[in-house]
Symmetry: C2
Subunit: 266 residues, 2 copies
C-alpha cells in the first residue's frame, strides 16, 4: 500500500504561515481533517519558516494537528533539537524528515536518531551536491541504508528520496530516477522510496499532468511513497490506479472503494 | 517517438459498419481527418465485420481513407487474400495486423508476408492459447522475431503485441505485461511493442483512467506503440507526457507543441 505523506502543513506556504502566526487552530485542523479524509498516511509538519519561532511554532502545530487526526506525523526539520522536542510530543511513532549524507547534517542527525522509535526519510544528497547519475543515487542509498542499519533501523522504516531533477535541465532525469528506484527497490529489498515529485516538471508548462504521469511511471518501477498534496484529486486518483496496476491492491479493493467514494474518476 | 495506430475505422463499430454499408465516404473521411489531426501515425482499417462483404468493403475503405489522409494504413484482416488485394491498393508502406503463432494463422501469413514491404503486428498467441506468464510472452516474442527475421524482416518493422490480460482476472496481469515488455525491448533490441490496452480494465469500473494510467506505466517500461483512439484527448495527452518523461522527446519539444495546441491539459 502506497504511503502518502501529506505536505500541506508547511509554514513556507503563506496561508499556513499566517494561520500559525495567528494561532488559528481552526484553519490548521480543517486542513488536516481534509488531508486525513483524502487518504494521507502521514501528516508532514514543518514549522521552520518563521525565523527564531520554529520551536514555539512546531510545539503548537504538533498539538493542534494531533487533536484533528489519528494519523502519525512526519516531523520536518533539519534541527535535531527541534526534533527532540517534537519527538516528545507525538502520540504515535513518527517519521523524521530528513537525513542526508552532507556531513554537517549527517553527524548530528545520526546521533539524534540512535535509539529513537521512528521512520526516516533519507535524501540521496552528499557534500558533492545533488545526484547526477543512476549510480550517484544508488550508491548514496546504499550508504544511507548501511549507516541507518548500523544504528538499528529496520529497512521498513527507511524511506529513500532519490531527489528528482527537472526534465527541463536534462531529458534523462525521468529515466534516471525511475531506473534508480527500480535498482534500490530490488537490491535493497525492504526499504521504501519517497520524495517530492514536482521538481520533475520545473520550467515546463502544464506541470500537474507531468507530475501525476511521472508518479504513475515511478510506481511502475516500485516507488511506494510520495510527499504530496492529498487534496489534489487528480494525482491521488492516478496514484491509486497505478498502485492497483502495479499489483499492490489485492482484488482491486482499494481501487473499487476509491471509485465508490468518487475519489477516482475517469 | 510513440507510434499511434488509430483504431476507429473498424466495421465491428456500429456507426462505421452503417457508413460502410451505405458507402458514406463523408463519415469515414471526416473520422480519418480527425484521427490524423489528433496525432495518429497509422490508420487501422478493418472491414471484416459484414460477412461475405470483406473484399468489397476493404477495397472501398482503403480508397476512401487514402483520399482523406497522407498517413500509412494498418491493414487489419486475418485473411491473406484480402491482405494481398489491400496491399496492391496502398500508396505507402503499410502495417499488417496481424500474425500469431497459431498454426492455422501462422503458415498462410508467413507465406503471404515473404517478400512484402511492410511492417507487422505479431501477437504472442500460440495454439495453447493466451500467454499466462512473463516467460510465455517473451518466448513467443523470441520465436516470432526469429521467424520474421528468417524471411527478411528488420526488427524496426516488427511490432510485438504481448496480449494484455484483465487485472480483474489476476492482479498480476499488469506487472506481467510490463515486465515482459521491458525484457522484450531490452533483449530483442530494435523491435517495437504495441497492442490494444483496454483489456487491462475489463470487469472494473472507471475503465478509462485505468487504461491511460496503464499506458503511462507501459511506456515507463519501453512500450512504444499502441492500437488506440487518437480522439481520446485524455489518453493522448498522458501518452505524450509519458513519452517525454521516458526521455523520448528531445528538449520536450513535442510536449510543448502539444500544450500549445491545447492537446495536453493538466
Amino acid at each position: 500500500m502506497f504511503t502518502v505523506i501529506g505536505e500541506r502543513i508547511n509554514t513556507t506556504l503563506k496561508k499556513v504561515q499566517a494561520a500559525v502566526a495567528e494561532r488559528d487552530a481552526d484553519y490548521i485542523q480543517n486542513d488536516v481533517r481534509l488531508q486525513t479524509e483524502a487518504g494521507a498516511t502521514y501528516i508532514d509538519v514543518n514549522g521552520g519558516a518563521r525565523i527564531g519561532e520554529e520551536e514555539g511554532d512546531m510545539r503548537w502545530l504538533i498539538e493542534v494537528v494531533q487533536e484533528a487526526t489519528e494519523l502519525p506525523l512526519c516531523l520536518d526539520s533539519p534541527d535535531p533539537n527541534i526534533l527532540e522536542m517534537a519527538y516528545g510530543l507525538v502520540k504515535q511513532k513518527p517519521m523524521i524528515n530528513s537525513i542526508s549524507l552532507e556531513k554537517d547534517r549527517f553527524d548530528p542527525m545520526i546521533k539524534y536518531l540512535e535509539g529513537k522509535e521512528c521512520r526516516i526519510i533519507a535524501l540521496c544528497m552528499d557534500d558533492s551536491g545533488m545526484p547526477k547519475t543512476i549510480e550517484d543515487i544508488v550508491s548514496r542509498a546504499r550508504t544511507l541504508v548501511e549507516k541507518l542499519e548500523q544504528i538499528g533501523f529496520k529497512r521498513d522504516d527507511i524511506f529513500i528520496d532519490p531527489l528528482i531533477q527537472p526534465m527541463s535541465v536534462d531529458i534523462n532525469n525521468g529515466t534516471i530516477a525511475m531506473d534508480a528506484v527500480k535498482i534500490i527497490m530490488t537490491e535493497l529489498e525492504g526499504v521504501h522510496t519517497t520524495g517530492g515529485l514536482s521538481n520533475i516538471s520545473f520550467g515546463l508548462p502544464q506541470r500537474k499532468i507531468i507530475n501525476r504521469c511521472f508518479l504513475a511511471m515511478m510506481i511502475a518501477n516500485g516507488y511506494d511513497s510520495a510527499i504530496m498534496d492529498p487534496l489534489d484529486k487528480d494525482i491521488m486518483g492516478l496514484m491509486q490506479t497505478a498502485d492497483m496496476v502495479a499489483g499492490n491492491d489485492q482484488f482491486c479493493m482499494n481501487f473499487i472503494k476509491g471509485v465508490r467514494a468518487e475519489k477516482i474518476v475517469s
